[in-house]
Symmetry: C3
Subunit: 141 residues, 3 copies
Amino acid sequence: MQVCTEAISLEATGFCDIRDITPEVERMLRERGLIEGSVLLFVGGSTGALTTIEFEPGAVADLRAAIERLLPQAIPYAHDARWGDGNGFSHVRAALLQADLEVPVAEGNLLLGTWQQIVFCDFDNRSRRRKIICQLRGRFD
Amino acid sequence: MQVCTEAISLEATGFCDIRDITPEVERMLRERGLIEGSVLLFVGGSTGALTTIEFEPGAVADLRAAIERLLPQAIPYAHDARWGDGNGFSHVRAALLQADLEVPVAEGNLLLGTWQQIVFCDFDNRSRRRKIICQLRGRFD
Amino acid sequence: MQVCTEAISLEATGFCDIRDITPEVERMLRERGLIEGSVLLFVGGSTGALTTIEFEPGAVADLRAAIERLLPQAIPYAHDARWGDGNGFSHVRAALLQADLEVPVAEGNLLLGTWQQIVFCDFDNRSRRRKIICQLRGRFD
């Protein structure tokens, strides 16, 4: 087994911007030749998270609505009172959805379901360039 | 270190069916002889999730009640409006609870607590056969 | 690649005690000499969880408030009705936030963001000594 640490870079707009990163992860797999093992994805930052979902506009809108309902943007946050960042909601959302996601790989493919994509959720309150760590581990060709 | 990718298959009834899969994971460990490392469990599909809980009827009922309270079945979902699947609630629940879980192994045992089991949560709106990826990684005997 | 399984021990007070364990994880990395790979952290027990957050009092208070709002302590739990433990809320919180967290490592460092710390959340209803499994995997020096 070997390990190889890469990163995916993307522009995201914040405010629960949900982005399909499956094609980038698949491209990295093929370029590096991982045959069997896994990909660890990790957001190095405290206002983003990773999960999987059927990436179609309906399910994505439903996820955004659920997050807003459970962890509203427009309530007072102690983080904002202390630092004036205005992104207290972003921190709580990221802590609950979490920074890490691991997807198994076999025969050179991500073992996702047919209607399942890997998504990055940008919860911050501004646009920015984001970097997602993408660590491949296992048996390479 | 080596890697070995297997799957657990089970019938689940959907609608927040919570199933203890610890015995199947333990049996796989013993059959394959993993001594030290970890098991990555992954639901290849967008209406199921994995977590750990004390698997007794009370705690399981509490988890089901919390999920229904936070992410109700009977509210409108954009996914249903677009596709008519009727399982919009399933997708949001699965995205929040997440498809991956990793449990460390040492001396041939899962490092779970005494009252902690690995559970598969089937959030779909129908019965079906489910497959959970079970990838063993580490030092085998 | 090699694997090495350790544990972090700490006293925690329960009731959503959120503790920064990043320094202990970093110390373990350096002692063991992990260069590239990852650290799998795991709570062996069903009333604790792991995540990352900007560990400053405001954001931590916001996370505690969100958890209490979403999964209140003072509602009836079936677990308590059956067992009289009084920690039904602890189990549901732990199942939703989850026992596992994995952080990638490269060039001997955790790939966390500048304002991102690893936290253990003790959701139980009493003080106790807690053990967090800390498994290092990858290329060591």
